[in-house]
Amino acid sequence: MYEELGHDGFVPITVALDRAEDARPFIERANATHPSLVDSDHRVAELYHISNVPTMIWIDERGRICRPHDAQFGTDTFASFTGKLSAPYLDLLRAWVRDGSGAMSGDEVRRHSPAPTRETQLARAERALAWHLHQAGRGEAAERHFRRAGELAPLDWTIRRGSLPLLGENPFGPAFFELAKQGRTEYAMESVTPTRAPAQS
């Protein structure tokens, strides 16, 4: 995609909400020439108020958000699970890079941006404390705060699912499917671009 769209006026930046060792295989496999960053502290999740991944945000030449985060996929690997197809979104992206179309007005961006609340902000503080304790080798204490963060923000998958590897649980195992049953309301994040896959026959 980067190669196709050219490097002059466009750059994708990927941010992995992961430990470096968890992100490494993905980044090495992609062998990308664009910035491929690691955000173990969930700094970008805090700043952009992101509650699930993958998500994409458009930022224009002046550094302004012109399409808010939108749960989208670059491939159709998970289409049967998520019900989303990548092609319509990628077409939209190509058009934006080419001629700027598809950028939203400020009011539209604001309307589609979920608002932080006291609970989500406290959850992020609990997650920051948990991550600090985890790094300090205080596993039990870290677990308490990861769980507290998840209780405060039950629909935030960056916290709930993102904590599973740190709790020694399989993010693709039973704990995840339990989570998916409880929190699968619109994939926890609004889809701005309608890219629903047709119902499976």
């Binding site: 002059d8 006026g9 466009f10 750059v11 930046i13 990927t14 941010v15 992995a16 992961d18 968890d22 992100a23 993905f26 980044i27 090495e28 910035p35 960053l37 690691v38 955000d39 700094r43 970008v44 805090e46 700043l47 952009y48 991944v53 993958p54 998500t55 994409m56 945000i57 458009w58 930022i59 224009d60 030449e61 550094g63 958000i65 670059g74 992206l93 934006w96 400020g106 961006v109 604001r110 941006s113 608002a115 932080p116 609340t117 989500t120 406290l122 992020r124 503080a125 609990e126 920051a128 404390l129 600090h132 304790l133 204490a141 705060h145 963060a149 590897p165 993010p171 693709f172 995840f176």
Partner: protein, 135 residues
């Protein structure tokens, strides 16, 4: 004892004392870390002062009660007294106001080799910011 106080990207070591379930933090360390100082007008940083109605619940023996301090600043606080660690979150209103400007929040993060990249270095280009994870 010392308490680790996490404030966004910064981590501060702050002198602290435990009093039951309460944590009294050193006022000078708080000022050095957060910029807030107790003055006659209230809790002040630069020219901004927050009135302190109940001074007794905030101050004792020169220390500041951490939970009372966070409540005055209206900031979320995650606290673990046993572990002597705490994290101050950002007010929902502040984050909402920052996002409402549409200015993309700037950040600096490492790649796998440890090289730092800053979003605003790409000003002048269209940026597709993609957040993803292994999980």
């Amino acid at each position: 004892m010392m308490l680790t106080l996490i404030d966004g990207e910064r981590r501060h070591a702050i002198g602290a004392q435990l009093a039951g379930s309460q944590v009294q933090v050193d006022a000078a360390d708080v000022e050095a870390a957060l910029g807030w100082k107790l003055a006659r007008e209230g809790l002040c940083r630069g020219s901004v002062c927050i009135p302190v109605r109940d001074r007794a619940s905030l101050v004792s023996d020169g220390g500041l009660d951490l939970e009372a301090l966070a409540a005055l600043l209206d900031r979320p606080l995650a606290l673990d007294t046993e572990e002597r660690a705490a994290a101050l979150g950002e007010r929902a209103e502040d984050r909402a106001a920052a996002l409402a400007t549409l200015e993309a929040p700037d950040f600096t993060l490492p790649d796998l080799s440890g090289r730092l990249h800053t979003l605003s270095d790409h000003r002048g280009k269209k940026v597709l910011l993609i957040a993803y994870a292994s999980w």
